[in-house]
Symmetry: C2
Subunit: 457 residues, 2 copies
């Protein structure tokens, strides 16, 4: 390897975790190069300004009070936050009936109870208490391969739901949670029950991760970090191979070879698995990356000249077993006065939605919104889809999940560096995985690991 | 695209399915080019000659009476077969006890019953009858997304075993079957119960797929097919990208771009998913390839100057819950007189075995063999490991499997061509998937599909 263009570290992937890793190395005087396949930085942290001047977040958007690393980043860049608009009645649509109530449930329930049949609600809450007790019994950190965990990991979330709920509503309550909440966006029949429990343990709705929104959007953050690193970021450089030894790495793109002492692969596990490593990764790690798929969703942002739902006493928050839209949330910035609804199409419904012509997809989404908030929903000012699942550089959303049996057999390989290769990305975090906070933690960790190794010489 | 070097079809992967696809197209006067990442053809069909003159198969080796496409190929190349050596007592090792019996069980049981506790055997056979009834109820072809299948697909094989067996032996009987038999080599906690049932439905031990061996080994076949295609095969050409449109494809390797009307991607789904497609594959297909991992095994071939076990009335077939070796089989060719044992290290035991130094791995395997057949097993003439799971161009063995929820959500995308892109490989077959017969069927199918499209102009 030539010494003159040799970096201390190459970071592959300019999403939030990669940018944080590179920035922290750079700030310690280490030479870095960030290689990004897309023509932009930011990964799943991506914003847009509408013609109305309103910002929207096409990727993640919220922050909560215990997401301490994300809050610190917001403070560092002096980004202000405001409380997510939640005042007013929430809407539950269930089997065609419409309930207004001043509460919320995403597994964890709070506030007023919706007016569904009390036996239905009781069934869901009884099961929820059992779920929560199992979740709370997990120790901090990554799930380990003990006997109990092997049993929980050997079954799907769907199987647990089938055995622990009696009513159709109770079953939907948990299947919805698997699709919409926290880790995954995954149908309950695909995910390890252990992973579902662990997701609630380390990224709980009870901690209110959607408590606040960021003025101007989370999407402005990647540009701020990148500004500090500008000469050391190359976009449109898809990495295809990594040659590695104890002495360092060579990182291959279609046209260039970059040399460094270390490399951080900062992307979801399934994309890390697409790179060809020479020598090959150890089988435990190589087989792991075959087994950590992305969840399934598209995000849809719809704006109106004003938040019309508030005239009706509604909060702009809806959930229910509609055909397409099971969750939507008011994301309007009070300073702009524009009304914004953020919503998602999840799981099997997403795949069915994608078989529709594009115009019909829009009609489908707006039709469901009208059932939640009224016919004003049918005539938005703007309609933006960010189809994360169709995007090959992410491959799904919100995040990756563990199918059954993966944690307890392959878990050890999940975060362990391989020679000079380190891993970053929200999927690798043991706190707030799938959230921005988790991404920051793994970027910080990768940088710290490499700084220690560089200092050791 | 330049017309002068434009092929009718490029085949990516020179395993059995790719070679068959290319050969069938070539025989119909169509121009083909086969690109292979390895420096050899054959994929998981790979042989070796020992110093003793004895052949061994490092990949698949057996053929059975209903594997009609494989039998036809053997006949075409005038390859003779002989009955797999099974005469004599089989050995079961269970919890340290040793049982000799003249029968066999791989889920499906026949012949004499081993002398384990009758309640244990009864428990396993009762559960087996339930398993077989569910399997037999599946229609021919690929599993479909109906209500019953969604339920079976939403649970793991491990979960079904837990609910349907009462004894430790009964549980081991099925966990062993998941690791050793037919589709997978997968721990039961990772595989969809529907997939386990389907594997038995379309590739049953009751059809005796290991009835015969091929004189000279299956490994000689790829060379015979390749001889016919020799000018049109390039090895050491790893494909990294496929650009495609209605007009055709451009296939990119590190150094070259090949143009063609069609392409056959002839490799396991997870490797097909490592190629970058432009435009990207539809999300249903792209997410499928994130979700079809390979099973876990290494194959070990051990030879002795003669099949010493026969002196003791043993068949050279052992199975049991040893730490490393749960299955081994006599693979000796009576014409050479050499004794050959074929064995495997599966699943979680494989990953543990890989943490040992290489010499200890050998000691571990031979130590278990000695428990089956006696201390003569400790001093072999040769010892060969083919570590399919550590090989990045296969990534596991015997074959891929479906985790829970994959068939019923993503099944439609499993074999469907995407524009000019067709798929081949034993994993895609609806008859004998995971076997050579399945590989041939998908190669033939891909060629037939493309010949039809070429004929249509």
């Amino acid at each position: 390897m030539s010494s003159e263009s040799r970096y201390d570290c190459i970071v592959v992937g300019a999403g939030l975790s990669g940018l944080i890793a590179a920035r922290n190395l750079h700030r310690q005087g280490r030479s870095v190069m960030v290689l990004e396949a897309r023509d932009r930085v930011g990964g799943r942290m991506r914003g847009k300004f509408l013609a109305s001047g309103q910002w929207i977040d096409l990727g993640g958007q919220w922050v909560g009070p215990t997401q301490t690393r994300f809050l610190a980043l917001l403070d560092e860049y002096r980004l202000s936050r405001f409380t997510s608009p939640v005042s007013g009645q929430k809407v539950l649509l269930y089997n065609g009936a419409r309930y207004e109530f001043d509460g919320l449930f995403q597994g964890y329930a709070e506030g007023e109870i919706p007016g569904v049949c009390p036996e239905d609600w009781q069934d869901a809450q009884d099961a929820w208490r059992r779920f929560e007790a199992l979740s709370a019994a997990l120790p901090e950190g990554y799930p380990r391969a003990n006997d109990l965990n092997r049993q929980l990991d050997g079954m799907t979330f769907a199987q647990w739901i089938a055995e622990n709920t009696q009513t159709e509503f109770g079953k939907w309550y948990f299947h919805y949670m698997s699709r919409a909440v926290g880790v995954g966006c995954v149908e309950a029949g695909q995910i390890s029950f252990l992973h579902a429990l662990w997701g609630h343990r380390v990224a709980s709705q009870a901690e209110h991760p959607e408590a606040e929104l960021i003025r101007g959007g989370a999407g402005q953050i990647p540009g701020k970090i990148a500004a500090e690193l500008a000469p050391f970021i190359r976009v449109g450089e898809a990495v295809t191979g990594v040659r590695h030894s104890d002495q360092g790495v060579e990182v291959l793109t279609g046209s260039e070879t970059y040399s460094a002492r270390f490399v951080v692969i900062a992307m979801p596990p399934h994309l890390a698995g697409r790179i060809f490593y020479d020598p090959p990764l150890p089988p435990l790690r190589a087989q792991l990356t075959q087994r950590v798929p992305m969840g399934t969703c598209a995000k849809v942002l719809i704006s109106y000249d004003r938040p019309f739902w508030r005239d009706k006493g509604l909060a702009g928050i809806g959930l229910g077993n509609c055909r397409w839209i099971e969750l939507c949330a008011d994301s309007s910035d009070p300073e702009t006065g524009v009304g914004v609804i953020a919503t998602f199409v999840y799981g099997d419904a997403y795949h069915e939605w994608m078989t529709l012509p594009e115009a019909d997809r829009r009609t489908a989404v707006l039709g469901d919104l009208a059932m939640y908030f009224g016919d004003e929903a049918l005539t938005p000012v703007s309609y933006d889809v960010e189809n994360w699942t169709a995007d090959p550089w992410t491959g799904g959303g919100y995040t990756a999940f563990m199918p059954p049996g993966v944690w307890t057999t392959f878990g050890e390989a999940h975060t362990a560096p391989v020679g000079p290769i380190h891993w970053a990305g929200t999927e690798y975090s043991d706190r707030w995985p799938g959230f921005f906070d988790g991404a920051i933690r793994t970027g910080e960790r990768a940088a710290a690991e490499i700084l220690t190794r560089l200092a050791a010489g």
